[in-house]
Symmetry: C2
Subunit: 408 residues, 2 copies
């Protein structure tokens, strides 16, 4: 669950969304957040052979910027993304739609492109309109401070934080053939609450200097998201604003194979997803749930998600209690039509101790040490050869506090 | 959400499972519970024309007593149910199956019936075998103290408590035709944790002196459970031991119509379900979620359950925060194939204030008073004429504490 440092081959000059050639970014404080701090970010693709792709929440109550950006992607290649924290612009009616449109329009005007080349992402409270004068002034400020350096990438990552306690960025170098130039995928994300299925949390912008088509960008992105952000489930809640956008500049001149490109994007998304979980609201344990012996991937994922969403499992983990009864009880809630297995063959291990063997008592729960932040749950269904891992967190007093003490 | 007093036409001499003619019960302390208290209950049907029915957890990891009682019901009419707290006898392998069987056998021997006339229910920790010497001595004690009075019914209701803070009993009189004798449905239940779908929590024994067949008993019970216990969802977790058993003695001589009988059973189950929610672990609010304008019942129930299971909704309610964005966001997670509706037509009211109108901003959230224990959430999908109500609780520090501080 820790962020694998080997996928951070980042020197201090290559950070997040500006690591790939052809990108500039910025992050400024416009005044949208009650408690201050940066709140408007801009990422611009100056590459000559741009491509783009996006994956969005499957929530039917989609926020205005999601609807707008999805529509833009259908007609054009995005070359800029403007993002704000301090307000989700969700459930804000036709006024909210006009606000999102005006935000894209302002960026388009400054960059001298058609507005359907601009993506918009918002995060924050649902059901409140954005103060447009403040936001548009912030857009102007962001456009005036665009830069290709690492500070700009960090400022952008900072500006999209809500309850995130740290910035999340990543750079993953793609595999390089002898004599070829290097290329990479960089990115930033925000999460913290509403880490969920369908799509986790979240806003994420990925940039790359690989030379790819819109179609390959989309295929790589959807596949990468499927096994990373979509396998991240902190509290089972799916946001109205989830957006993952990939921009490529082509400026490396390298045209990687789709498989290589997909794996590089997957590594970047995987690292960002684990950074989100590690910083999820109020968590005291990072939990990976691995299902082996599943009949297929859907079976494994469904079982893993049932466990990840159980408040009884999550509170037990918070209490450092290897309560496997609560785990196998969740396994049992998955219908046989989805996950065929024999309940009398299921093994459950917690942190390497098989506390439940063949659906019954296994080794002593006293052998399980749960004091470390990382908790590993392994369930063997003995029903096939498929393996799925899903990441979640525990349910703590701090989670209840953060989500009850104020509106968000 | 409060227990409607008008369905408690109970004088102090008619309580719970002994209110109907023909039943005796008892509750004793055998020593199964770590902290003491009654832990073995027995309910015996002495009627001359007995019938029975049972509804059980749909969890595939069903406890030994569930498997046994389900099998008994397929071959015989139950005339006795023995229940214990202090251990679930779930995930205990063939030894656990033998333990459940031995428990039924001891009751059968004492009552001089075949053991397939005896139902067994257990509740408590999963994955530990019951101390059979203690349990069987408790069965002997329970059999020796069987009584038809109200104290016996209360002792039985007390003996099945785990983290329940109060006993849950009910008596509902059936409709009486002129000149006919009165008849009633009485019952007891335990809940507190694992209040969930598929079946709530829970152990419940209902008794009636109506004269009905096994088949009518089953039909009435499944229909009553569907709209009561199955619409009760405190924490989304489905137990391995959930059991609802109905015994009829026929001793009133009254043979009610199936509709009348079903409604009377439904009233009894509804009251017990609300008593369970009101005593759910750590809750500070009782919440009813009503979906109107649904295209059909499944649509309404699915939307209601999505809201009821959202930790973000539940923590907001704990914080007295009328956070409708979290509610409509959950509405949006339900696929259109299950619940057709237009997100731009959805209204959300909290405690009578329509805070979200037509999918957007409604009346001020400042108008909503959430200080009372009862919270009413009303969602109008404007997609049909069906209405569904589901009951849940908030997510509190006490819930986290009760489920993390010790193993259960």
């Amino acid at each position: 669950m820790s962020v694998p440092t080997d996928v951070h081959p980042t020197d201090s000059t290559r950070v997040g969304v500006t690591a790939a050639r052809g990108f500039v970014a910025s992050g400024v404080e416009a005044g949208l957040k009650e408690h201050g701090g940066r709140d408007v970010a801009l990422v611009v693709n100056r590459g000559t052979r741009p491509a783009s792709a996006g994956v969005f929440t499957s929530n039917r109550v989609a926020a205005a910027p999601v609807i707008l950006t999805r529509a833009h992607l259908e007609t054009a290649t995005l070359t800029a993304v403007v993002l704000n924290s301090g307000g989700a612009n969700a459930c804000t009616g036709i006024e909210g739609a006009a606000d999102a449109s005006a935000t894209a329009g302002r960026v388009a005007e400054i960059l001298d492109v058609d507005s359907n080349h601009v993506g918009v992402c918002s995060t924050g409270m649902i059901g409140e309109r954005l103060p447009m004068d403040i936001l548009l002034a912030g857009v102007d400020g962001a456009a005036a401070t665009l830069d290709a350096g690492p500070e700009a990438a960090l400022a952008a990552a900072d500006a999209i934080r809500t309850t995130d306690t740290v910035c999340k960025t990543i750079v993953v170098d793609g595999p390089v053939a002898p004599g070829e130039p290097v290329w990479c995928v960089g990115g930033m994300a925000k999460g913290a609450g509403m880490l969920a299925p369908g799509l986790a949390t979240m806003l994420c912008v990925l940039t790359t200097d690989a030379l790819i088509s819109d179609e390959d960008a989309y295929n790589a992105l959807t596949e990468a998201v499927r096994t990373t952000f979509n396998r991240t489930d902190s509290d089972g809640c799916m946001s109205t604003n989830d957006s993952v956008i990939l921009l490529s500049s082509g400026d490396s001149g390298v045209c990687p194979g789709l498989t290589e490109f997909t794996e590089t994007v997957r590594e970047a998304c995987g690292s960002l997803a684990r950074q989100l979980i590690a910083d999820a609201e109020g968590s005291s344990h990072d939990v990976d749930i691995t299902i082996v012996g599943a009949s297929d991937e859907v079976a494994g994922e469904t079982v893993a998600r049932a466990i990840a969403r159980s408040n009884l499992v999550k509170t037990a983990i918070f209490g450092n209690d290897p309560n496997w009864g609560r785990i196998i009880s969740e396994v049992g809630t998955v219908p046989e039509s989805v996950a065929p297995y024999d309940p009398h063959e299921v093994d459950v291990s917690i942190n390497g101790v098989m506390v439940c063997r063949s659906g019954g008592l296994g080794d002593s729960r006293d052998l399980v040490d749960m004091t470390a932040r990382e908790v590993h749950i392994l369930v063997d269904l003995h029903a096939g050869s498929h393996e799925v891992t899903l990441w979640t967190t525990d349910l703590t007093h701090d989670y209840v506090h953060e989500n009850s003490a104020y509106s968000s």
